[in-house]
């Protein structure tokens, strides 16, 4: 087998994996404390379904992966806490003045409001405003922690919708 042949197999395999990752399913590492306690700061790997790309069929309370609007090359994991048309009270806990309790934002058409589960250590819609659905890459349905033993399937657990399932 020539080098050309091997190269062509490599190219085809890499592209197949890439297309699967963008359109169907991705298994990827997450980092950062913004989704504690749902996702750990390190060692957590998430299962992402790409059917929900561009905000298709997403509901309030779903966990998503999206491009960060101010830096599209990095991706963020957040939870949807407001759908289009919702009126949002932007976090009054950060400031001392009374006015913060009267600052509301209407989520525009085709946008969602996203926040991290760990509100005190999360850079999210409270900073960069609601994000367009076009930036959403997929929905997180489950996670693994590889530091856990094999008997628990490496810490496998489902990531549930915090708004509808846990009510």
């Amino acid at each position: 087998m020539s080098w050309l042949n091997i190269g062509s197999y490599v190219v085809r395999t890499v592209c197949l994996i890439h297309i699967t990752h963008t359109h169907f399913y991705e298994f990827t590492e997450t980092r950062g404390e913004s989704m504690l306690p749902t996702l750990n700061r390190v060692n957590d790997y998430v299962h992402v379904l790409k059917w929900y790309k561009d905000g298709r069929d997403l509901k309030m309370g779903d966990c998503i992966v999206a491009m960060k609007p101010t830096d599209p090359q990095s991706r963020v994991c957040k939870r949807i806490t407001g759908m289009e048309g919702d009126l949002i009270l932007v976090d009054p806990s950060q400031e001392d003045d009374e006015e913060a309790y009267e600052t509301f934002i209407r989520v525009p058409k085709g946008h969602v409001w996203v926040t991290g589960d760990n509100l005190s250590h999360s850079l999210d819609s409270r900073t960069y405003n609601s994000i367009p659905k076009g930036l959403i890459k997929g929905k997180i349905v489950a996670a693994n922690d590889f530091s856990k033993p094999l008997s628990t399937f490496w810490g496998f657990r489902e990531i549930t919708n915090s708004y509808f399932d846990e009510k």
Binding site: C15, P72, Q73
Partner: protein, 178 residues
């Protein structure tokens, strides 16, 4: 005959195995797109032709998430912020950290464009839904940069920079922001 059958199967498998490569290429390197509507007149779709022939453009898609690859007067195709299934074609009138003069219905007179965002407007200023309606867009929504008209052949020589909409709308074009 047996050989013929296995040959056909083998060719089919090889053909299918190249499909992801083609898709990756069209998603990240270049592709063509059809332009609809009149918002980029006179640059694109300059007349209402009787047989409804639209312009097709060559899209360059490589590394467009990086704001430094965008400059003023590039023609951009991007997912509409209000509906991800819709694709808009507009002209970039300002890049990150620029301050631009807006137009009604934008609520303020000027807008400071955030990091990795673009200010986009149609060349046909009065018939265009653009950043004056929905504000600056994230470069993450960009699908490609129109570089050349590929169809119909009569439009091959057309210049994509023939019109610049409202012209230079930057407030302090020489001011350094960092």
């Amino acid at each position: 005959m047996v050989n013929y059958g296995s040959y056909a199967l083998r060719s089919a498998v090889i053909t299918v195995s190249w499909i992801p490569v083609i898709l990756t290429f069209t998603e990240h390197v270049c592709y063509v797109a059809k332009i609809e509507g009149s918002s980029m007149r006179p640059t694109l779709n300059p007349t209402d032709s009787f047989n409804n022939e639209s312009d097709w453009v060559l899209l360059w898609k490589f590394n467009l998430k990086q704001a430094k690859n965008w400059k003023e007067n590039d023609v951009v195709l991007f997912k509409s912020p209000s509906n991800p299934k819709k694709v808009y074609c507009k002209r970039v009138k300002g890049v990150q950290f620029d301050q631009v003069k807006t137009r009604s219905p934008y609520p303020k007179d000027t807008c400071l464009i955030p990091r990795n965002h673009l200010w986009v407007e149609g060349d046909n200023v009065y018939h265009s839904v653009d950043s004056n309606n929905f504000g600056p867009i994230s470069t993450g929504l960009a699908l490609g940069k129109a570089v050349k008209i590929v169809w119909p052949p009569s439009r091959w020589s057309a210049d994509l920079n023939m019109s610049e909409g409202r012209g230079d709308i930057k407030v302090f074009p020489t001011m350094e922001h960092s």
